[in-house]
């Protein structure tokens, strides 16, 4: 454990990842569990889990509200709301979290450069930007969180992809707007951004991929750098596409037991899909208009 100056650097890192903010709003849960896990060498992920879940949930929710805004707090925080339901109401965040953590087949070998780079990143921000709630997190807890997160990121354990994505989006958020540490979502600088700044974060990710990669880790070898650039380019697109797909598909109302929908999926109502049948899928439509110029077959 270092002194207070080291503590400020690491406090910056944890703050920008969203972890410090999450810990600041979950104080009673964390210190004992993290310290105990480190002492006993328990799986660090388990101990950090409440904090990281808060980070990933708020961050992914901020992403979903960006793609499909609604009347929810995440849309309000970005300054772009709509009166009718949006992606949050369509459980778009749950869709993405579930997909990222349970099904996205991105293997550890691909993620490891991202995760390891994150573990050694963030030393370029000037201290003094932290809001009071984060400055007031006790130094002992800062060190415990730092050790725990560092241990997790360096380990060979599988880190849920939603957490990697969330840490990364938060890192990007503080790049495009350092003051995003302050806002209604202490666990997610990204969720605190305006809609325009969220777009700026994605612009940075897509358009300045090389510089992002360099800032994540300037020591990466060239093949690893290309791999990381490729992964980030793919992820940037996939996050937006899947947020849209999940919000407009039947997922939020799907009952796996019956393989049918319970109620009307939000996206169906938003798009008027199946409105003619009361939102029930069909086995056919009265839609046959004949053949063009009445031609039912053509020659070879």
């Amino acid at each position: 454990m270092g002194g207070e100056s080291v503590g400020i650097d690491r406090r910056q890192f944890l703050a920008r990842a969203g972890v410090l903010g999450a810990a600041s709003v979950l104080p009673s849960l964390i210190p004992g569990r993290v310290a105990a896990a480190l002492l006993r060498s328990d799986p660090v992920l388990d101990a950090l889990s409440p904090v990281l879940q808060q980070v990933s949930r708020d961050t992914i929710s901020g992403l979903v509200a960006f793609v499909v805004p609604g009347p929810d707090p995440y849309s309000a925080a970005q300054g772009v709301t709509t009166s009718e339901p949006g992606g949050i109401d369509a459980k778009g965040a749950e869709f993405l979290l579930d997909a990222l953590d349970h099904f996205f087949p991105l293997p550890d070998e691909v993620l490891r450069p991202v995760v390891q780079a994150l573990g050694t990143a963030i030393s370029d921000t000037k201290p003094g930007l932290l809001p009071p709630n984060l400055l007031n997190v006790p130094l002992d807890l800062v060190h415990q969180l730092d050790d725990a997160l560092g241990t997790l990121l360096r380990s060979n354990d599988t880190v849920p992809l939603s957490i990697v994505v969330a840490l990364f989006l938060n890192f990007l958020a503080t790049m495009v707007q350092p003051s995003s540490l302050v806002g209604p979502f202490p666990a997610s600088p990204f969720a605190n951004l305006s809609s325009a700044k969220k777009a700026e974060a994605f612009r940075t990710l897509e358009q300045d991929t090389a510089s992002v990669v360099a800032r994540v880790d300037e020591n990466l070898s060239e093949p690893a750098r290309q791999t990381l650039s490729g992964v980030l380019a793919f992820l940037a697109g996939a996050l937006l596409e899947f947020a849209a797909f999940g919000s407009y598909s039947e997922w939020s109302a799907f009952d796996p037991a019956t393989r049918a929908v319970n109620g009307v999926p939000v996206g169906w109502r938003l798009s008027g899909y199946l409105s003619e049948t009361g939102f029930v899928p069909v086995n056919g439509w009265d839609e046959f208009l004949g053949y063009f110029e009445n031609r039912t077959q053509v020659s070879g």
Partner: protein, 590 residues
């Protein structure tokens, strides 16, 4: 010892299997995914349940959906749309069966002969493939598509930009037409009745036959309800060629039913050295449910695992690759997406996924596409031009569409997608060049239980000048068409590679230096090893959807195999094809 082992039960493999089973050969057909022989109970009409690439029943992964999908490395903004299971990508296809452009074949002498990818022509003439087209068209069968509101809208636009109609199966000039597709035309109540899944009576077989206009081509066709498998409207191979392969003794004298093994992931093609030549001897595969490994020997091996998996299997098995063209030359029609917003209904989510097209020889084509809302939202957020109104990612082309191309999200997405049935989507299909840089290699960073995985590289912004020029031309034509059809607003997305029309990674060719297969689709460096799916195609066909041409070529390849290695005679042109809807097939289904 089998006569023939076919790897992959997608669009091409079952064609070879069925044809050779019809000649009495002992054929083993392997499929990495599950079997889809009871679609009414196996599928739903729900797009996430069906098409989620991670969890859907139409994903690329083991049939046990609680297990993760199979990861493939795509080191760029792109989407690789593979599909495992009996039927392969014909399960989600729209059944479109246009023939290739004549100009992509050797010996073409038309005035536009320099307009094509002339460095990568098919090593034989178009006229040679025509009898095989006719054979497949009769087998599936292929018919002229029926029309719904979205087709009527599309045709209005095509006429509005001055295109003539093409009333033949062959393309000779810029023109539009209803699709020729492998979808049974509606009869009885089909197309005339709306019924929900909760209340279907008039739309059951046999009252309804053929296409019921349900709108779920991409989720898999099980219409009409109650119809036998080989009478389902859309002629995916699970409903056409595979049933024929499994009942070969019933519809042809001397036929020998194929053995189908699903959940069998081929991991190695076994070879031997004979007289200084490498010769295929059999196949090793892994049961994806039990993990058990099996090996069988065969006189001939046919690869039909797809454009991404064939090169992977080849390279993982250490087969020879002296010119380094295994996996190279990947073509994908470098799609783009243009759509219009209308004040009146277009029926976008109803009817066959795509029943109308335009052809532009030497440049590409256009086809309409109807989608349910989740996939529609996906299509509107897939772009290489950043986020509309925010940033362009260095592109953001402008043209006869409204504003710069780019993703549509936020309030714009909600506004524009507020009436999914007032949209008209046009898929922009580019006649794209075979280029060595677009390729499949083995991933250096990831392997799974079947070995190093495929890495698929596309260099979209560095495509050839002809490819890029064609794409811009076709995108402009799409926007003009949609506008002429009456759209109030028109948008272009500038898609990154959507790797879905896939061709030519194991290409046959005239030039030994840039091809893997000879003119018979036999591997140049491994005797008794053939390729019979889209990867065998010499090029991107000039833009037409590839399945029909692959199936025609696979039929020709089956004949070559029978002639060269089993002492048989050809049959196409001398015999009459049996349609897959034949009552003898129906009666013999398990």
């Amino acid at each position: 010892m089998r006569d023939v082992i076919v790897i992959g039960a997608g669009g091409g493999g079952p064609v070879v299997a069925k044809e050779l089973a019809g000649r009495g050969l002992d054929v083993l057909l392997l499929e990495a995914g599950g079997n889809f022989d009871k679609p009414e109970s196996q599928w739903t009409h729900l797009e996430n349940d069906a098409n989620n690439p991670l969890t859907g029943f139409f994903r690329f992964g083991p049939s046990d959906r609680s297990k993760p999908a199979w990861y493939r490395e795509t080191p760029q903004n792109s989407f690789l749309w593979q599909l495992s299971g009996v039927g392969g990508t014909t399960l989600h296809y729209y059944g479109n069966c246009p023939r290739a452009m004549p100009g992509v074949f050797a010996g073409y002498g038309g005035p536009d002969r320099s307009a094509y990818d002339t460095a990568h022509l098919f090593p034989f003439e178009y006229s040679e493939l025509v009898p095989y087209y006719e054979w497949v068209e009769a087998t599936l069968p292929v018919q002229t598509a029926a029309m719904g509101t979205k087709e009527e809208t599309f045709f209005r636009g095509a006429q509005g930009i001055g295109l003539p109609v093409n009333a033949t199966k062959n393309v000779s000039r810029d023109s539009f037409r209803p699709q020729e597709n492998a979808i049974l035309q509606p009869s009885g109540t089909a197309g005339h009745v709306t019924e929900t899944i909760a209340n279907t009576s008039q739309l059951r077989h046999p009252h309804a036959q053929g296409c019921t206009f349900c709108g779920y081509c991409f989720q898999g066709c099980f219409e009409s309800v109650g119809a036998p498998l080989n009478l389902k409207a859309k002629r995916s191979t699970n409903a056409s060629y595979v049933p024929m392969a499994l009942t070969a003794g019933a519809w042809t004298a001397g036929g020998h039913a194929v053995t189908l093994v699903s959940d069998a992931f081929a991991t190695k093609i076994n070879t031997a050295e004979e007289s200084g030549q490498t010769v295929a001897r059999g196949v090793t595969w892994r049961d994806t449910k039990t993990g058990a490994t099996s090996t069988e020997d065969a006189k001939v091996v046919v690869m039909a695992a797809g454009c991404t998996e064939n090169p992977r299997l080849w390279l993982n098995g250490g087969l020879p690759n002296p010119n380094d063209w295994v996996g190279r030359g990947y073509t994908d029609h470098f799609f783009d997406w243009v759509f219009g917003v209308f004040d009146t209904p277009t029926g976008s989510s109803k009817g066959v996924g795509s029943s109308a097209r335009c052809d532009f020889p030497g440049q590409g084509g256009l086809e309409n596409v109807g989608l349910p809302p989740g996939l529609q939202a996906f299509s509107m957020n897939f772009s290489d031009s950043g986020i509309r109104g925010a940033y362009t990612n260095g592109r953001g082309p402008t043209g006869p569409w409204d504003g710069p191309a780019g993703r549509i999200l936020g309030p714009d997405l909600k506004r524009i997608l507020s009436h999914v049935d007032q949209l008209l989507n046009v898929l922009v299909i580019t006649d794209d060049d075979v280029e060595a840089q677009n390729r499949v290699t083995l991933s250096a960073i990831n392997a799974d239980e079947h070995g190093p995985v495929a890495k698929v590289e596309f260099h979209a912004r560095q495509r050839s000048a002809r490819t890029l020029r064609n794409r811009e031309h076709m995108a402009a034509k799409a926007a003009e068409l949609v506008r002429a059809a009456g759209a109030r607003e028109v948008f272009r997305l500038d898609w990154p590679p959507l790797i879905l029309h896939v061709q030519s990674t194991m290409r046959m060719g005239q030039d030994q230096a840039t091809s893997v297969l000879d003119e018979n689709a036999e591997a140049r460096w491994v005797r008794r090893l053939f390729v019979a799916d889209n990867s065998a195609l010499a090029n991107a066909l000039g833009g037409p959807n590839p399945t029909l041409t692959s199936q025609a070529l696979a039929t020709r390849t089956a004949e070559r195999i029978f002639q060269h290695y089993f002492g048989g005679q050809p049959w196409v042109g001398t015999e009459a094809p049996v349609p897959s809807t034949d009552p003898r097939v129906t009666a013999a289904l398990p």
